[in-house]
């Protein structure tokens, strides 16, 4: 049945997709960035729709508020005179679009033939879990933010057991490939403190590097 959620999804998804296409097509770089903004905002909406509030908010804050500003800065600082031709030739367009469509085809084909998702009984179970999850995604009770925070801060999240790696796909009675979910095991909580720290340090390095790169003033065409 077609419900509001579905409607919202299709609405946002189509808008996002259109904006993405517009981003590609637009020749003016600022407009392109504007369309990108809409794409990003749409993505963020998709996240909200999926119940991932925190990721959505982060997407907004960092991409829309940060990355986009940087993009626009770049646009401003490197703005071209009106006579500079940076148009792409038709042939390039054709080649790129053909290659892109091929890529899209391959990706979609890969998605439809995606074997590693639950099927049969497992699919039903996954759907149940999904439904539960959607209910749990009630913004008032959703604990995603704190879970993510725990995961990133080294406290660990989830029940105190570790999931086994998923079993290798096996064939059921009908001959379909089935992947059974991992079997819960004991021991510690999972956390991502180390990647978090690595990313932090990485960001710091990037910050310094970017500052260094940007402040270096070289003479144009002069002797290096």
């Amino acid at each position: 049945m077609f419900d509001a959620e579905m409607f919202m999804f299709w609405l946002i998804a189509s808008l996002t997709g259109l904006c993405a296409i517009a981003t590609v097509i637009t020749q003016n770089i600022v407009r392109s960035a504007t369309w990108l903004l809409f794409t990003l905002a749409g993505t963020s909406s998709i996240f909200f729709l999926l119940g991932a509030d925190f990721v959505g908010a982060i997407q907004l804050l960092i991409y829309v508020g940060g990355t986009m500003v940087l993009v626009v800065f770049g646009v401003m600082l490197t703005a071209q005179g009106p006579f500079v031709n940076m148009r792409t030739s038709g042939a390039e367009w054709a080649i790129s679009i053909v290659a892109g469509l091929m890529l899209l085809g391959v990706l979609c084909f890969g998605l439809t033939s995606f074997q590693n998702l639950p099927t049969g009984e497992a699919l039903a179970k996954a759907k149940d879990a999904h439904t539960k999850q959607r209910k749990a995604n009630d913004p008032k009770t959703s604990t995603h933010a704190s879970t993510i925070g725990q995961a990133l801060s080294g406290v660990g999240y989830g029940p105190i057991y570790k999931r086994m790696p998923p079993l290798p796909p096996t064939k059921d009675a009908k001959g379909n490939l089935v992947t059974l979910p991992g079997v819960p095991r004991e021991t510690e909580r999972i956390h991502y403190l180390l990647p978090f720290e690595i990313v932090s340090v990485h960001l710091l390095v990037v910050l310094i590097g970017a500052a260094y790169l940007a402040r270096a003033k070289r003479r144009r065409g002069g002797k290096a």
Binding site: M1, D3, A4, E5, M8, N28, V30, R31, T34, L37, A41, D53, F54, A57, I58, L60, L61, V64, G65, G66, M68, V69, V72, F73, V75, M76, P139, K140, S142, T143, H144, A145, S146
Partner: protein, 414 residues
């Protein structure tokens, strides 16, 4: 038919309610904008020792804004030839959107909220930060150098002030242990429990936050983006009519939004200052049920809006009191002072909450509360003295005129 309807309801209640809430919020924003513009003019007039609007709408000229709005709606909507038409048209809506969407997560009362989000505070900050993009588009799309300069200034300023603002807001978050605005508000029942009085760090954080908030709303003395002495009118130089109206609606909207955040995070939210929740009091304690909840919430919403407007009033007060800074001073203040202060406050409050004994925390909290009350009382006393003083006498704290060259004496100026 009924089945289908209930089915539909059970499936889509959230969305239906959301639409209703959105309409209410739009309405509030309009009303707020109209009231704020009027208030601004009146405050400006009073501070500049004049009356402000007086004629339209009977007393106090309270319909003046509405009339102005009507005028703006019918004005010719001109677009410069060199402008990027698409972006020129798009910009104001993005600004308005950024301002409006922030209200989604802002609780006006106990449960009076469009979408009670777990990360409401974070969401608001994120949404408001997207406002700047609209301003950039406005500045760029106008095809005018004044606009471009204004837009760029605004972008730099807002992006920079995001950081100390978020840092300061995180201070009460650390105390409350939640980013859900409703929860934060509810955890401050009783005026002595307001987070502004919780500890020295939250106390400082409030003032810092408020400074940053003013800057991020490009209010004076940080209104470099529209500094008329330098940039004509900044980023919205080329705008007129309805689009100009939209820009201003957004500005006043975000003023209320940041004030609302301040109220919720520091000033007890919708609480009247009583140590119990009014909805509970009316609904459960007095046994009035749903009606009691509605009654309580009406009081709550009123209190909240009044508190918000008071902060908006303070912003205006500051605007008409202090001179404008230079852009480099603005940036320096943010990057050199406010960000370090914010970091210190955040670290300090963490240490305070974790390591300082509870009893000491409470003693300090009470001390802060009492001292603040005493300060307010002193100010009230001074005001009363001023009110009863002969006309022309200086306000408390104002520059003394005596002894200055050319000073003729107070009585002469009457």
């Amino acid at each position: 038919m009924l089945e289908r309807l209930s089915d539909f309801w059970s499936l889509n209640a959230t969305y239906v309610l959301a639409i209703i809430a959105a309409n209410l919020l739009i309405g509030f924003m309009l009303v707020h904008a109209i009231f704020s513009v009027w208030l601004e003019r009146k405050v400006a007039g009073r501070i500049q020792d004049r009356l402000g609007p007086t004629r339209v709408g009977g007393k106090f000229g309270w319909l003046q804004t509405l009339a102005d709005g009507m005028k703006l709606l019918v004005k010719e909507d001109s677009i410069p030839a060199s402008a990027d038409q698409f972006l020129f048209r798009l910009g104001p809506y993005i600004v308005l959107l950024g301002s409006f969407l922030a209200f989604i997560a802002l609780p006006f009362g106990d449960g009076v909220i469009a979408r009670d989000m777990n990360i409401g505070l974070f969401f608001m900050l994120a949404i408001m930060s997207s406002e700047v993009f609209g301003i950039i588009l406005i500045g760029y799309g106008s095809g005018s150098k004044w606009s471009l300069f204004g837009g760029m200034r605004e972008a730099a300023q807002m992006i920079s002030y995001e950081i100390p603002m978020a840092l300061c807001v995180l201070v009460p978050v650390v105390v409350a242990g939640s980013m859900n605005l409703s929860e934060v508000a509810k955890s401050q029942s009783g005026i002595w429990n307001w987070y502004i009085f919780h500890d020295p760090f939250t106390f400082c954080a409030f003032w810092t936050y408020f400074t940053c908030a003013m800057a991020s709303c490009k209010r004076a003395p940080f209104d470099l983006a529209e500094a008329e002495s330098e940039l004509v009118a900044g980023f919205h130089t080329e705008y007129s009519g309805f689009r100009w109206l939209v820009i201003f609606m957004a500005e006043y909207g975000s003023m209320f939004a940041v004030s609302g955040i301040a109220v919720i995070m520091f000033l007890g939210g919708w609480s009247l200052g009583l140590p119990f929740e009014l909805t509970d009091f009316f609904g459960t304690t007095l046994g009035l049920g749903f009606f009691g909840v509605v009654v309580g919430n009406v009081i709550n919403v009123t209190v909240f809006i009044v508190k918000g407007w008071f902060l908006v009033f303070v912003m205006m007060w500051v605007r008409w009191t202090l001179p404008r800074l230079r852009i480099d001073q603005v940036m320096m203040m943010c990057l050199k002072y406010l960000i370090p202060i914010g970091c210190v406050l955040l670290a300090g409050v963490s240490v305070w909450v974790l390591f300082v004994p509870i009893i000491l925390q409470q003693i300090v909290g009470w001390l802060l509360f009492i001292l603040s009350l005493a300060g307010l009382g002193y100010m009230g006393f001074q005001l009363r003295t001023w009110v009863s003083a002969p006309p022309g006498a200086g306000m408390p704290g104002m520059w003394r005129m005596e002894g200055l060259p050319g000073y003729q004496g107070a009585t002469k100026s009457v």
